[in-house]
Symmetry: C2
Subunit: 271 residues, 2 copies
């Protein structure tokens, strides 16, 4: 397989200009819509195979960090990319506003608990990055508190990498118009209406602040060992295909193997 | 859908005679093999739909306890039944030999931590039942310790039920011959060989003791609110279909609903 990861990767410590990245881009994708879905189906199968080897090997692990603005497609990406994978060996954790107990610890305490065990793929639906995003935009803490967190995050992720965890961080990049369309969808479709929160509209007003906070965070924390990928995500099929490409290429590079059998099995007769 | 659960349910506090239950039985199944697979595929889709409602409702939860002897098919059941489900909202935990820290607590402490949160389906691959099974057969504690655990388990599970968790407990029932065949498979297939442990042969020698311990445990802890099901499991396709039937019927009875939308959404215009 071609390794297409460089299409979306944020160069180490290089601040991406999100305004210059087209949320409708379809770089690298097969031209026909139907071929894109076929390609994704094939990637899901390869992901399932790689995951079963990673789980059997029980030595290394993979962490996928998913970030996006509201209606950016985090839930849909998880459903489409990981449905078809054995849920034994995959854990998904959605981080909400921190609890009182969590606030009584440093900002990495609660996420550390959910990092993947050996053999596992862990998915963070939002993550410790909220502590340099919403926390910054809403001025929940002063800059003297949130700015040093980039360094904390780099150190934390390096610790995970040194412990055998491969990290993939994905920002799902949508346009403001696309977000508006998705909000309207939620309002109009009866089965989606419960997802709509008027609070989302308050967040939407801060769109430019968030783009700035994301650009800074991605630039400050994209490293060779723990890269960020900006995936154009207005088109859901392209988004799923791109995330699958990144995950499969990362796992193929890891090349997990079934463990060696016990010694001395050749003479065993089962009675 | 017909509710077929009574085919496999252990009557409350009635000790099942496992010797009298045919592990090759195919009660209730469509006669044609191909129809069985189609039926299972349809059930997986219904399970996915019910799970998405349970997750959205975020009020109740489901716990599936899976028990079986070695090579009884626990891993395969999880893979086949839950592949196709959104892993966000499903957690699978495999309980191994307890750690030192876990042994410093009562036997329910470690499992309590992994019970499902509101909206979630949790799967226990082995469970607190090992503390009245392997612990009894291997005489790790005296009968004065393990026998009172039936009462503890009934109380614990009642607590979960009262808190909004529906419980489904499944014993995958295979024959000694089928286990031998599966062990031979593992020895012969290169990609499965790593799964084989010579320790499994020691456990196999205690087959009759385990059947007795299972019969007692199932009888003592099958209650109306937290029933055991004995699923004939020599045939993997039948086993998957039966477990799906039980899960789907349980969730249909729960009838989870999407939550009510916020009030006052009618006049909102997205700009």
């Amino acid at each position: 397989m071609d390794d297409l990861r460089s299409l979306w990767r944020v160069q180490p410590r290089e601040r991406p200009d999100l305004d210059a990245i087209d949320p409708d881009a379809d770089d690298g994708a097969p031209k026909k819509k139907s071929r894109l879905e076929d390609a994704s189906e094939e990637l899901v199968e390869r992901l399932a195979d790689l995951q079963s080897r990673l789980w059997a090997e029980r030595r290394r692990s993979l962490l996928l960090v998913l970030q996006a603005l509201d209606a950016g497609g985090k839930d849909g990406t998880i459903r489409k990319v990981f449905t078809g994978i054995n849920p034994q060996g995959v854990s998904v954790h959605a981080f909400k506003a921190p609890t009182e107990e969590e606030l009584e610890h440093d900002f990495l305490w609660r996420v550390h608990h959910h990092t993947p065990r050996a053999g596992e793929i862990a998915v963070f639906n939002r993550s410790h990055y909220e502590d340099v995003l919403v926390v910054r935009v809403d001025e929940l803490v002063p800059e003297t508190v949130w700015r040093p967190r980039y360094e904390s995050i780099r150190g934390f992720e390096q610790t995970l990498v040194d412990g055998g965890t491969s990290i993939v961080k994905v920002f799902l990049h949508i346009s403001a118009d696309e977000q508006a369309d998705r909000f309207r969808d939620r309002l109009e479709e009866p089965d989606k209406r419960w997802k709509f929160s008027t609070g989302d509209l308050e967040v939407r007003k801060k769109w430019d602040h968030y783009q700035e906070a994301y650009s800074d965070a991605l630039g400050e924390t994209s490293t060779a060992a723990s890269p960020w990928y900006v995936v154009p995500a207005n088109d859901k099929k392209y988004r799923n295909w791109a995330v699958l490409q990144i995950l499969v290429a990362t796992l193929e590079e890891m090349d997990p193997r079934f463990p060696e059998p016990e010694a001395g099995l050749d003479d065993i007769v089962i009675v």
